[in-house]
């Protein structure tokens, strides 16, 4: 029933119905925000990306062909938007990194407020570069296949595999450094 409704909303949104689009996006709002938080570890950037993702979805909704889940399509758009943002901010990397550091402590604070401990694994994941964190998240939390991640990130399956393995090694290294 829910899927049928979603299919209907997508079709209406593709025909230019703005109300249908907002209703559709509202359904996935929490899902996409949660994804963005885990991808960026930064509530401020997640908020900015959420709005950009919404706009891109609105502008590109006609290209959605129902071959994948709508949520996967949203993840693809959100991930590519983040990669674009990182490229754009490459020049001001110092400034961007400082802001990222400040706001990852905002995430810690938000988690602690909800009585969730920011443990050493989270700490280790937060130190990973997005290049490694994104495939790790998509593979080990969302359960995408290497091929699917390759499609999302526009790179080869082999590259994704090696990045996921390297990210696990980096997390392990960071955890052992913390212990030692």
């Amino acid at each position: 029933m829910k899927e049928f409704e979603e299919h209907q909303l997508i079709t209406l949104a593709q025909q230019g119905d703005e109300a249908a689009f907002t209703a559709l996006f509202q359904r996935h709002y929490s899902f996409i925000y949660n994804y963005l938080i885990k991808m960026t570890f930064n509530p401020m950037i997640a908020e900015e990306l959420l709005q950009e993702t919404m706009l891109k979805c609105y502008l590109q909704i006609t290209s959605f062909n129902h071959q994948s889940k709508f949520s996967s399509w949203l993840i693809t758009i959100a991930t590519r938007t983040y990669i674009d943002l990182l490229r754009k901010k490459k020049r001001e990397r110092g400034l961007f990194k400082r802001a990222a550091d400040e706001h990852s402590s905002a995430l810690k604070w938000e988690l602690q407020l909800n009585k969730v401990d920011f443990n050493e694994v989270m700490e280790a994941i937060s130190t990973l570069k997005p290049l490694y964190r994104i495939p790790l998240l998509l593979r080990h939390y969302y359960g995408f296949t290497y091929a699917e991640i390759g499609e999302i990130l526009n790179c080869h399956e082999g590259t994704v595999k090696s990045r996921v393995n390297k990210s696990i090694k980096l997390v392990r290294k960071e955890m052992h450094e913390d212990e030692g």
Partner: protein
């Protein structure tokens, strides 16, 4: 070992999901947000278009002047040179003074 680590990573991500509570805004707020983003997007596109047209017309004017061997082009280059030299000198002076004050 690796399986354990993968499990720990998954759990860490799950805990973040649990710890972050963000409910979706109502439809009116979302619609307002979308309209704001659309307006920003339109403004950005217009700015890019204006910039493109400006550069294009500048190139066309320069090309026409070069092809027509117009004296205004050469006079213009000389005037620009005369104006640019003192500007660059002032800018360099300011920069070196700033460097001194930092040291």
């Amino acid at each position: 070992m690796k399986v354990d680590e993968e499990k720990q990573i998954k759990e860490a991500f799950e805990k973040i999901t649990e710890g972050i509570e963000r409910s979706a805004p109502n439809l009116a707020t979302l619609s307002m947000m979308l309209n704001k983003k659309k307006a920003e997007h339109k403004k950005r596109l217009n700015r890019e278009l204006m910039f493109f047209m400006l550069i294009a017309s500048f190139c066309i004017i320069i090309l026409t002047l070069v092809l027509a061997n117009a004296p205004i082009l050469y006079i213009g280059i000389q005037v620009l040179g005369i104006v640019a030299v003192p500007c660059v000198m002032i800018w360099k002076n300011k920069k070196s003074k700033q460097g001194d004050s930092v040291l």
